[in-house]
């Protein structure tokens, strides 16, 4: 997926959001740390360009809520959580780059409870690895479904962090 395609997809996702959320007065966008932040920022920027005012934006780190953190050899590094509003009775839109096993999203749903009870939670992802789910979790807004097998890695790069916007699939050798 190259820069042009990604831009078209992001535009479409924004339109879908606006369709569902009108003026966003009761909706908040939450990027999931660490990889969902860049995408969430981009969505925020596009929404503001299309005239959405006072969009509330937060970032949520799910490290402490993961179910697998002691399976790794090293403890997982925590990232910043910044949610300076209460999500009680709000419509929360999680934004992440890739939906894979669904475990991060499960952890995020746990983690967001610490900030109140949202009236609704939606999930937006750029890439949906649709045959790799380990939990019954589906995204509300999907940029593009990808059929990749477990030994392949899907990498999303953003201009802000890397040189250009692109999505690549890497096959692991051996």
């Amino acid at each position: 997926m190259n820069e042009q395609l990604m831009s078209i997809t992001l535009q479409r996702l924004c339109r879908q959001l606006i369709e569902n959320h009108n003026d966003f007065s009761k909706s908040v966008i939450i990027g999931l740390q660490p990889r969902g932040i860049a995408m969430a920022r981009r969505i925020q920027q596009l929404l503001e360009e299309s005239g959405v005012k006072k969009l509330r934006f937060g970032s949520l780190d799910i490290t402490f809520f993961r179910d697998d953190f002691r399976i790794h050899a090293k403890p997982l590094k925590a990232n910043e959580t910044r949610i300076d509003f209460v999500v009680e009775q709000q419509r929360v839109i999680f934004v992440d780059d890739v939906l894979y096993t669904g475990r991060s999203v499960r952890a995020a749903m746990d983690a967001i409870q610490s900030f109140g009870r949202p009236s609704q939670i939606e999930l937006m992802v750029l890439i949906d690895r649709r045959f790799s789910r380990q939990l019954p979790i589906q995204a509300t807004y999907i940029g593009r479904p990808v059929d990749a097998i477990a030994s392949e890695r899907v990498i999303v790069e953003w201009k802000e962090e890397n040189e250009k916007d692109q999505v690549i699939i890497i096959r692991h050798e051996g």
């Binding site: 402490f64 809520f65 002691r70 050899a73 090293k74 403890p75 925590a78 109140g116």
Partner: protein, 309 residues
């Protein structure tokens, strides 16, 4: 780096700079957690932690217990008074009996220096030293440095920090020296000559016996408690004389014409090392230290529990 170099937290001297920085950055996130409406995360819900205190403690014990509970660990508490220790059970036996109940981590305070280190060689659990005699009190030093860093920004390099009072009986002093030196601060000790251990200057710290001169020099002053209960002989003629020479009051602070940040590990002897006006004054960050203590201990527990067997 996302793992500590150590399996236990026995003292600051076993840590590397990268360990301390990792603990601080993890504590930043836990500080945010404990300011949430719901202050609990499930990270350690499969761990059982024993708090074993062979010596009295309020802050450290409560702070550890709270940190453990905020991480969803199961907690058991043990204090030497009212236990079988008074019947003559040895330390290793006591701890092994507790571990037989399937405990994963032990937080221990003990009056003998090196007790935590000894225990780590004898039993199969993660040991966290919550103070061993006059040796080390690593989590206190970490939270002191973290509180200073919070006030002065990330870099402690070149910051002048004085540790004032009863250095001889203090485990906080030694851990603080190791920690602050590693972070690049300049450290000076100040107190009556009888309460400053011989040869401590070999750790690369300055020594002064003049409170006023030290206060003029420093940006941060960490006052230590006069530990009457550990004094078997008289180290100074009278308490009144100690207060006159080494006690801080607001008149002295005003004479300085510059703000200095006041820390105290607690419990404070009000009217001895600090007067109430100073302890509760605008330059004191004593209560921030207590808040940070929970975050630091959560970070330490999380990082030590997080490695695979």
């Amino acid at each position: 780096m996302s793992a500590l170099s150590q399996k236990h937290l026995l003292g600051i001297k076993y840590l590397q700079l990268s360990d301390i920085e990792l603990i601080f950055s993890t504590a930043d996130e836990f500080l945010e957690v404990i300011r949430r409406p719901i202050k609990k995360v499930p990270s350690l819900r499969d761990k059982t932690i024993a708090n074993i205190f062979f010596e009295n403690s309020t802050r450290t014990k409560l702070s550890f217990e709270l940190a453990e509970k905020r991480l969803s660990a199961d907690v058991i508490n043990f204090s030497a008074s009212g236990s079988s220790v008074s019947k003559g059970e040895t330390l290793v036996d006591t701890v092994n009996n507790i571990l037989a109940m399937k405990v994963d981590m032990v937080v221990m305070r003990h009056p003998n220096p090196g007790a935590a280190h000894f225990l780590a060689t004898q039993v199969n659990a993660t040991i966290i030293n919550a103070g061993d005699g006059a040796h080390e009190h690593p989590t206190q030093a970490l939270l002191d440095a973290y509180s200073i860093r919070q006030k002065f920004g990330n870099n402690l390099k070149g910051l002048r920090i004085a540790i004032i009072g009863d250095i001889l009986h203090s485990r906080v002093a030694l851990s603080n020296i190791f920690c602050l030196k590693m972070l690049g601060a300049e450290v000076r000790l100040c107190g009556p000559a009888t309460l400053i251990p011989r040869y401590i200057d070999q750790l690369g710290v300055e020594i002064s016996y003049d409170l006023m001169e030290t206060l003029r020099w420093c940006d941060v002053a960490n006052f230590l408690r006069v530990q009457h209960e550990r004094m078997d002989v008289k180290y100074f003629p009278t308490l009144r004389e100690y207060i006159m020479q080494y006690g801080l009051n607001s008149q002295l602070l005003q004479k300085l014409n510059k703000p200095i940040t006041i820390l105290h590990p607690g419990p404070i002897n009000r009217g001895v090392e600090l007067t109430s006006q100073v302890a509760d004054g605008e330059h004191s960050i004593i209560l921030q230290q207590v808040e940070n203590g929970v975050a630091i201990r959560m970070a330490v527990l999380y990082l030590l529990a997080g490695t695979r067997e």
